[in-house]
Amino acid sequence: MRQSKVFELIKLKFPQVSEEDLTKAVIVPQELLPAVANYLKGQDLSFDNLHCITAVDRLERIELVYIFYSFKNRQQAIVKVYLPIDAAEVESLTKFYRSADWFEREVYDLFGVKFLNHPNLARILNPQDWKGYPLRKNYTNPNLIRKP
């Protein structure tokens, strides 16, 4: 199945989604994410593996990037969710994919995205009492020396 075919199938079911020009990723509105994930995991597409979650700080928004993989069809699908930077909250996918647990904790730790209904949203890499989210563009820390 081609990537464009995957997009068409998702578009058929959820008309609100769109396609990003450069990356051909599927852009999903924030509130639809659990439903889309459920659909991706289901019989039609069988994306049985959540491969990776990461995020990009674009200053005015945070882009969450989900990479799904289907072992059956040997294919991956990239889903993006745009979040406003001052209210970066999205539903957790731990209900559908258990691998989401640690991925979401990592994104929370480094980008400060809150995953709602996550079973244990604690920092995973930095010390528990760490302040701030280091991979945000506006992060500062007395120990962090910017290259002149």
Partner: protein, 171 residues
């Protein structure tokens, strides 16, 4: 005579009628013995540790300098070779290990990361800027990224020199 000059501590051996005798102050002998038997801590943090491991293996053989007994507990060591990048989280652990070592203790900073943060000096939130910024005094700095085992040996010989020149043998 040429051979005895090459062995460490040769300056203590004097030839007198009846055979060679060792003649020195006990303090000198003590320091010489201490410098020839350093016990490093089994402790590596990043890529520089690989060089330290190579130095410990047969090809380079750190045992030639009497510093080959890597101990797995800080309580049995007197040299800490800080080999690698110290992350903020690991920094607490390094401090704890240093505190646990009995006196006399020496610290060698192996590699740029352990000296100053190295390539992680700029734009990194998670790396400590060198061993000294943790409040641990460093006796020998060995620059390089990574330093070769020979550099480590050079540093080790410098450390032996420091130990031999100490004011009090029982530091």
């Amino acid at each position: 005579m040429a051979i005895t000059e090459q062995i460490p501590g040769a300056e203590f051996i004097h030839k007198l009628p009846g055979g060679p005798v060792v003649l020195a102050s006990t303090e000198k002998i003590f320091k010489w013995a201490k410098s020839s038997s350093l016990w490093p801590l089994t402790f590596g943090l990043a890529c520089c540790a690989i060089e330290m491991i190579a130095a410990g293996a047969s090809r380079f053989d750190i045992d030639r300098f009497g510093a080959g007994v890597f101990r797995a507990s800080p309580r049995q060591c007197d040299v800490m070779i800080v080999a690698g990048t110290i992350s903020v989280k690991m920094g607490e652990c390094v401090k704890l290990l240093y505190e646990q070592m009995p006196e006399p203790k020496y610290v060698m900073a192996l590699g740029n990361c352990a000296i100053s943060g190295g390539i992680f000096y700029y734009d990194t939130y998670s790396v400590v800027k060198g061993t000294e910024s943790l409040g641990i005094p460093v006796d020998v700095y060995i620059p390089g990224c990574p330093p070769r085992p020979e550099n480590l040996f050079f540093g080790l010989m410098k450390l032996q020199e420091i130990v031999r020149k100490e004011r009090h043998a029982a530091k």
